[in-house]
């Protein structure tokens, strides 16, 4: 503050600080990105790992342990576990990301409107949020799917109906802080429209925390999807999905541990990747606070 004006040297130090490359700022972010790149690679191109058709039965090879031909063993129909897990990556990533995106968009919109306009809009929306929050996430998802019937579309619908509340709450809280800051007052004093103020001045300043939350929310959506498939309410056989694979392998836990354990490992690795990404993004946002 109040620094003598027009001093080129001070500016250079500032410039140096702000040009530290982002990949040097957070180790968690780097590890998370590496893990997720590999997971996404498999998700987009299951062929890099899968050498067999994930759905081709081969009763002769049923329940074989890890071997050279089948590095992760086979299941009770003789299907190659590595191929099934690899193809399952795509399904699980899809559930995680769609299950995060839709609530992210709807929840953020609702949160911004409630926070910015306040008044009765805020009251009504936040009471709805309270009701939804009162139920455990997975219980409500199960209840909705049970009503709508099993299937992947209904799974998305259920996750979206429940998931938005977390984003709405988070964003609303941030908006309540930001909307009273001077730069929002200044924007109003310049005669900007509410739409412009929200899109250009409020949103970019409140999205940070929910982007971080979104990264970890992907994990809980994937877990919810897997749990639903495990219960037979989500992805239907024979589509390979990690939760469904775990469910199939549960019966053979004592004789063929790999059937249930290895899809669980895949889920854990992916979950770790997203968590590290979230932590890393949080680190970046913290260092941005100057």
């Amino acid at each position: 503050m109040g620094r003598p004006e027009s001093e080129p040297q001070k500016q250079t130090t500032l410039t140096v600080r702000s040009t530290i490359p982002f990949w040097k700022r957070s180790l968690a972010l780097n590890i998370g990105v590496i893990i997720l790149s590999l997971v996404f690679l498999v998700g987009f191109f299951p062929g890099v790992l899968a050498r067999c058709n994930p759905n081709s039965h081969n009763p002769d090879l049923a329940l074989q342990g890890p071997s050279r031909d089948h590095p992760l063993g086979t299941d009770n129909y003789g299907r190659d576990m590595l191929s099934r897990i690899a193809w399952g990556t795509r399904v699980d990533l899809q559930i995680g990301i769609i299950g995060m995106m839709v609530p992210f968009i709807t929840g953020s919109t609702i949160g911004v409107l409630a926070g910015y306009y306040g008044g009765w809009i805020d009251q009504v929306l936040m009471r709805v949020v309270d009701v939804v929050v009162a139920f455990p996430f997975i219980v409500l998802v199960i209840a909705i799917v049970a009503v709508l019937g099993p299937g992947i579309f209904n799974l998305y619908l259920a996750i979206s109906l429940v998931g938005w509340v977390a984003f709405a709450r988070l964003i609303r809280g941030e908006v309540l802080v930001v909307k009273n800051l001077d730069y929002i007052n200044a924007a109003r004093a310049l005669g900007y429209s509410d739409a412009r103020i929200i899109m250009r001045h409020v949103l970019p300043n409140v999205l940070g925390s929910s982007v971080v939350f979104a990264a970890t929310d992907v994990v809980s959506c994937m877990l919810a999807g897997a749990s639903m498939s495990f219960l037979g309410l989500g992805v239907q056989p024979p589509i390979p999905e990690w939760g469904a694979l775990i469910s199939d392998g549960r019966v053979f836990m004592t004789s063929a541990w790999w059937m249930a354990a290895l899809p669980g490992v895949a889920l854990a690795i992916t979950g770790t990747g997203f968590s590290l990404l979230g932590d890393g993004l949080a680190d970046l946002l913290r260092t941005k606070g100057r």
Partner: protein, 346 residues
């Protein structure tokens, strides 16, 4: 200094009549702005002084109708260009903000959006009809140069955190000027800045006012700033204007005890050795103002009369209004006080 030119016949640009803004809290009503009346002439700099919580900032916010809830404008009218601003629809009011009446804020550190570059913020503020990107960019550079930011082309690309306090206030002024307002309202524009930078910013505002033909309403708690900048001044206390006059008369013959008190609490360069005379007591609680004159509990001249009914504004000299029963006697009193000071000081 502009007040040297004296009172020239001015065309009225803005007329505020009986503006009243209350804050309705759960268990109390805060009378933040309580019947404020003043007018602003074309090309004039009008000062509003008062201590914290006297309602000066809220007066500006009320003019733009940006009073935050639970505050509400409950009375008065604001005439601008033949329109009553308080009667406009929200959409019409939006066209007044920025384009007709611009406002700059006290805290340059927080008044700029941290995620947008200075360029984005100035260009957003430009009225964009029929301007190409290149034209807008050129105009943004021009504006930043106008407010005295060195190497404007380069600094345009920077973000607010790369600007110092004074530079941010300049950028803020540039953003406000991009809308070409006819009135610039400045809410303590220099309070958060270093003294040396304060002076630069004040000179900048004064210079821009003259070169762009704007009128300025300057809110401050600093009588020195008023003396330097303003043609006319209003002194606010507890949501009311207690005295208004042209700057010269206000400083030479203040007619309200509060104004006298303010000046007594100001150090004078020449009068070494004299004691400062702080105003006794505390700023009033706006939720429970006393009956009668709000200043009476702190006033050295208060009589029974003052505690019973609130004095209305009376014209003590042409263009000089004061809300006090004792305006006539004050001149005498003031002499006595100064005499006492001289004796006490020597």
């Amino acid at each position: 200094m502009s007040q040297v030119e004296g009172r020239r016949p001015v065309e009225l640009l803005l007329q505020v009549n009986g503006l009243t803004t209350y804050f309705f809290m759960k268990d109390a009503t805060v009378r933040a702005v309580d019947g404020v009346t003043f007018n602003l002439g074309t090309g004039e700099t009008y000062g509003i002084v008062g201590e914290s919580g006297s309602g000066k900032s809220m007066t500006l916010k009320s003019i733009l109708r940006l009073v935050p809830p639970p505050g509400k404008i409950i009375g008065g009218n604001i005439e601008y260009g033949g329109l009553d601003l308080l009667a406009l629809s929200p959409a019409q009011m939006r066209l007044i903000r920025g384009r007709e009446i611009g406002m700059i804020f006290q805290e340059p550190m927080t008044a700029l959006n941290p995620v947008l570059s200075i360029k984005q913020q100035i260009m957003e503020s430009l009225d964009t009809e029929g301007m190409s990107y290149q034209e807008k960019l050129a105009r943004a550079v021009e504006l930043l140069k106008l407010v005295g930011v060195p190497s404007a082309e380069r600094r345009l690309e920077e973000y607010p955190h790369q600007f110092s306090g004074g530079m941010r206030q300049r950028a803020m002024i540039a953003i406000t000027l991009a809308r070409q307002p006819k009135i610039l309202m400045a809410d303590e524009p220099t309070t958060a800045l270093d003294v040396t930078v304060q002076d630069q910013i004040l000179k900048l505002i004064a210079g821009l006012k003259d070169s762009l033909g704007m009128s300025v309403i300057l809110v401050t708690h600093d009588l020195g700033v008023v003396a330097q900048m303003c043609d006319r001044v209003a002194v606010m206390y507890a949501g009311k204007i207690v005295e208004t006059a042209d700057t010269l008369s206000l400083f030479s013959s203040p007619r309200h005890p509060y104004t006298i008190g303010l000046m007594g609490s100001l150090p004078h360069g020449r009068e070494r050795g004299t004691k400062l005379r702080p105003i006794k007591g505390f700023p009033p609680d706006l939720t429970s103002l006393p009956e009668g004159c709000s200043f009476a509990p702190r006033c050295e001249f208060a009589t029974v009369e003052c505690r019973e009914a609130c004095p209305s504004a009376t014209e003590v000299a042409p263009g000089h209004m004061a809300s006090c029963y004792h305006t006539a006697r004050l001149v005498e009193f003031k002499g006595i006080i100064e005499h006492a000071d001289e004796e006490g000081g020597s």
